[in-house]
Subunit: 293 residues, 2 copies
């Protein structure tokens, strides 16, 4: 299957699975509405797709990986809602529509984020109770660590701390590696672990994840300079306006683009060993580099 | 052992266990500082103590229950930090000191709360990996549901929704039952489950939890009228100032005090069957009714 086809097909499957999570009446429409507003619809579903692709690479059962893929998307979505709040990035647009707090107010946006994070763990725990295998336990552990203070939240804290401070390139890389990279790596790792891949294979997709996480960030920084709001679905030129350090402010546009190409080449190289079995993930690395949104 | 002695002794044990969770260098002092600021020190540790007392009632191993007790305190603390934020209750004081966002700013307070919630699940998952027993899995499930959108977060959403709307007594009770009650019930239930109590026993401490949760809330509403800021360690008279519906605004002070006594009697009655074995929890019900802070 081609990447396009896989992404389209499985983004829809993920969407249906996400909808199912919130199909029951919660008895309090507004918090459910706020959650569904941000969770459903326009996401790229990059992280859950990575979980499924890693699962597919190691001949795992995609259905077995689905709850983990969905949980990661819940965690990602909560982080976007909280990140868009005025006390953080103060962003009015996300995924092509008004951000959560612009529609539901900051209080409900806060709770919707909290709710999504908590729901993710409710689902993980239920999935483990249904079948307490070492693989499921390990996948849950990988996801929880990636989302936590030593991962994504730690990265957000670095980002916030250096908002009005000089940041060096090492700290900038650490920030991105935690803020964006950790969950991307975990998405792949969880997919591999659920498929009972061996340690070497798990290690390889993790390194691949490190590269594409970085590629994703560099291309994000480039798009913040050369992208358009229509395509990105969020405010553009924010980094420059906020005087934020990015790969582009460090290396300049041209060198950043070179750096991006090199990072993508590295990502693809690590999966060469799997030949055409890894074609989805290999194509995906190019996709990340060439995306315009 | 007397309640006083148990609470003093085990509050210290809990404190040491909480400290241990954050003793490692996170590599980013500020988020760890913000977490430790709210987590350590002045808490009553009611919820984790309930877990330990329920565990003790059914001859469980207190050490086995400790990670669950600590996780509940992490979840409780995150909820306080987020609840104190200006977009929610906008409270400047908590546990006798400035609230988290007054010290670290709203962004870090947001992240400290997110971090605590996530850390709680990291710990739960690690504890299950260490020994994946049905009891541990069930305790984790109980805690996660109590903290989620059908429990605590759902209650906070009701609270927020009715901030400037007329609320009836049923909805007010539902709000409290979810916002405060759910985690209190879960604290007891988790302690009982970890001790491998039978279903009847688990059911009984849950009902006891329902009563003391309600008692706690009624006494909170009474204290908001007759308490002092010095003793409570938080702003007093806030409910009236915010025109908030409380048991006192519904029933008046005197009837609320009667209602409180009745609720405490009910709580104690349900545990009578255990005789002196339940003396800690029975004494605790009185303690909640008579507390001045």
């Amino acid at each position: 299957m081609k990447l396009n086809q896989f992404m389209k097909e499985y983004a829809e499957v993920i969407e249906r699975n996400l909808e199912l999570l919130y199909s029951k009446d919660s008895g309090l429409p507004i918090i459910q509405d706020a959650i569904m507003y941000s969770l459903l619809g326009k996401g790229k579903r990059l992280r859950p797709l990575l979980t499924l692709m890693a699962c597919q690479l190691f001949d795992g059962d995609l259905e077995e990986a689905m709850p983990y893929a969905c949980c990661i998307e819940l965690i990602h979505t909560y982080s976007l809602i909280h990140d868009d709040l005025p006390v953080m990035d103060n962003d009015d647009y996300r995924r092509g529509k008004l951000s959560n707090h612009k529609v539901y107010g900051e209080g409900f946006a806060l709770l919707a984020g909290d709710g999504l994070l908590n729901n993710a763990y409710e689902i993980l725990i239920e999935s483990i109770i249904a079948k307490p295998t070492p693989a499921r336990l390990r996948a849950a552990s990988i996801i929880s660590k990636a989302a936590g203070t030593s991962g994504m939240i730690g990265g957000q804290a670095i980002d916030l701390y250096y908002e009005d401070r000089e940041i060096n390139i090492d700290k900038l890389e650490e920030m991105h590696s935690k803020k964006t990279g950790a969950l991307i790596r975990a998405s792949l790792e969880a997919g591999a672990v659920i498929s009972k891949a061996n340690e070497e294979d798990v290690g390889r997709v993790k390194i691949y994840g490190e590269y594409i996480g970085k590629a994703f960030q560099i291309s994000d920084d480039i798009l913040d300079v050369i992208g358009t709001k229509e395509k990105m679905g969020k405010t553009i030129g924010k980094d420059a306006k906020k005087n934020k350090s990015t790969y582009v402010t460090y290396y300049g546009l041209e060198k950043s683009q070179e750096f991006l190409s090199q990072t993508v080449r590295n990502a693809k190289k690590i999966l060469e060993i799997y030949g055409s079995k890894a074609s989805l993930l290999i194509e995906l690395a190019d996709f990340i580099a060439c995306r315009d949104a």
